[in-house]
């Protein structure tokens, strides 16, 4: 009985599938799908490597500090870093006093309540504060930015498929609109052509436009690609502050597990030795 109904149900589902396949295949041949324009012009992120890449990678603190400077001077006016606290900056090699000064002098103050009136107010940040948001809420952000909300950058390298290379490519990827681009896909007003962006037209104006836009204190030449690379490296850190610790812990754990597993394997072999040797004896 089970088998009888089983075969009926099986025939139904399999038949439906074959039928759907047939109709889909006819459709596919007679009316082949056209790749969207985005696919033709979209480009994969550029190849760029970071000091933190690979199983032995380490953060380059000098670079992270430069990247932080780029973030502060170029990005921070529109893009928040709401999950990162000022105190975290000590990871980049800043001293306690430097962190305190950075927090206190940050151009955007931390929202608070006036202790006397109870009204909303702001105060200078302390190291324990997270980076204050540049806009009070999404409505304010959209209103100030031509209806496009600048994403928070705390997790951006983990929240985009291409990771840090994608951020780097996006920053350095602004280009002239190709002549062949169909009218419908050309950037409208307030949009900018960038082949690394999913739909080719990004609301963000090119943020880094000229060499030397930021003046580095460590003699590094602030070329466009250098700045883009530094800020991308910084954003790797903001997204995963424990990245290096993860890898170091990983090596210790793997080394331990390797030895333990080899011992366990030898133990297994010795325990089974007699049972296995009986098999050999019989074979002989």
């Amino acid at each position: 009985m089970v088998r009888f109904f089983g075969i009926l149900i099986g025939l139904f589902f399999a038949g439906m599938m074959v039928y759907s396949f047939g109709r889909g295949a006819v459709e596919y041949v007679s009316n082949p799908p056209v790749k969207a324009v985005e696919y033709q012009f979209h480009e994969k992120p550029k190849e760029v490597s970071f000091a933190s890449d690979g199983p032995f990678g380490k953060f380059d603190n000098q670079q992270l500090q430069r990247g932080f400077q780029v973030y502060k001077e170029v990005c921070a006016a529109c893009h928040g870093l709401r999950l990162v606290a000022f105190r975290n900056l000590s990871d980049l090699g800043y001293s306690e006093d430097e962190v305190k000064a950075i927090a206190a002098n940050w151009p955007i103050e931390t929202p608070d309540i006036d202790p006397n009136t109870g009204e909303a107010s702001t105060r200078p940040s302390i190291p324990a504060d997270k980076f204050p948001k540049p806009f009070a809420n999404n409505v304010a952000a959209a209103a100030a930015n031509n209806n496009a909300i600048p994403p928070d950058l705390s997790l951006i390298t983990k929240a985009r498929g291409g990771g840090a290379p994608y951020i780097y490519s996006l920053l350095t990827g602004y280009a002239e609109v190709p002549a062949k681009l169909p009218e419908a896909n050309r950037p409208g007003s307030g949009l900018h052509y960038n082949p690394y962006f999913a739909n080719l037209n990004i609301a963000m104006a090119p943020p880094i436009t000229a060499d030397g836009q930021v003046t580095y204190s460590d003699e590094t030449e602030a070329t466009l690609s250098q700045m883009a690379e530094d800020v991308s490296a910084f954003l790797i850190w903001t997204a995963e502050p424990s990245l290096i610790k993860q890898k170091q812990t990983g090596w210790a754990v793997l080394a331990f597990l390797l030895i333990a597993t080899i011992l366990a394997f030898l133990s297994y072999k010795s325990i089974w030795a007699d049972v296995k040797s009986e098999k050999k004896k019989k074979d002989a």
Binding site: A85, R87, I126, P127, A128, F256, L257, I259, A260, L263, A264, L266, S267, S270, I271, W272, A273, D274, V275, E278, K281, K282
Partner: protein, 193 residues
């Protein structure tokens, strides 16, 4: 069939392995493997328990800076430190005098006002606002609150009285109000913790 039986029987280490005496190699390996597993489990337990310790954001607030410029002589403020109330009191000259007059040998927890304040800043009494009896918040910091029989703080839960130096004088409280670790960063800013 008989031969098979012995074959399997000898697979059982308890039966098969002759006691040659001394530590045998395979015993050593088994012990080493089990020991490693044990070490691994213990090492794994550490982070699993350590995660319950205060997290980085909690620790970041373990020291705070308080602006005391607005506290007039005779006033006190209540602020929060490590999620506990802190009393910062600007003692008046008569209050200091009253505190210094006390013979500390007769106190339950003998301390002078100088022991409980910093040199040159004897008018600043900074204590935890936590009754040392059972942890209630004593009254007396805010204006108009009962200050108790010794004009300091009064804990309404079980009737402990503290004097102007925050010392326990009457009631069940066993010790004086705790003075946290603090330092003056300037004349008007004090760092607690």
């Amino acid at each position: 069939m008989a031969s098979i039986d012995t074959a399997v029987e000898s697979g059982d280490p308890a039966v098969s392995e002759p006691e040659i005496g001394g530590v045998r190699r395979r015993d050593f390996i088994n012990i080493a493997a089990v020991s490693f597993a044990g070490v691994g489990v213990v090492a794994t337990v550490f982070p699993l328990v350590n995660q319950m310790n205060p997290s980085a954001d909690v620790l970041a607030l373990s020291s705070i800076e308080v602006d005391i410029s607005g506290i007039e002589s005779g006033q006190a403020i209540k602020t929060s430190w490590r999620k506990q109330p802190i009393f910062i009191r600007n003692l008046t000259a008569p209050e200091i005098e009253a505190a210094n007059k006390v013979d500390i040998s007769g106190l339950r927890d003998p301390e002078t006002l100088a022991d409980r304040t910093q040199p040159g800043k004897e008018n600043w009494l900074i204590t935890l606002g936590v009754c040392t009896h059972l942890g209630c918040v004593p009254l007396g910091a805010a204006q108009g609150e009962v200050k108790g029989e010794y004009d300091g703080y009064f804990c309404p839960c079980h009737g402990s009285h503290y004097d102007t130096a925050g010392r326990t004088r009457k009631g069940p409280a066993p010790t004086n109000l705790e003075v946290p670790e603090y330092s003056f960063l300037s004349d008007t800013v004090v760092k607690i913790g």
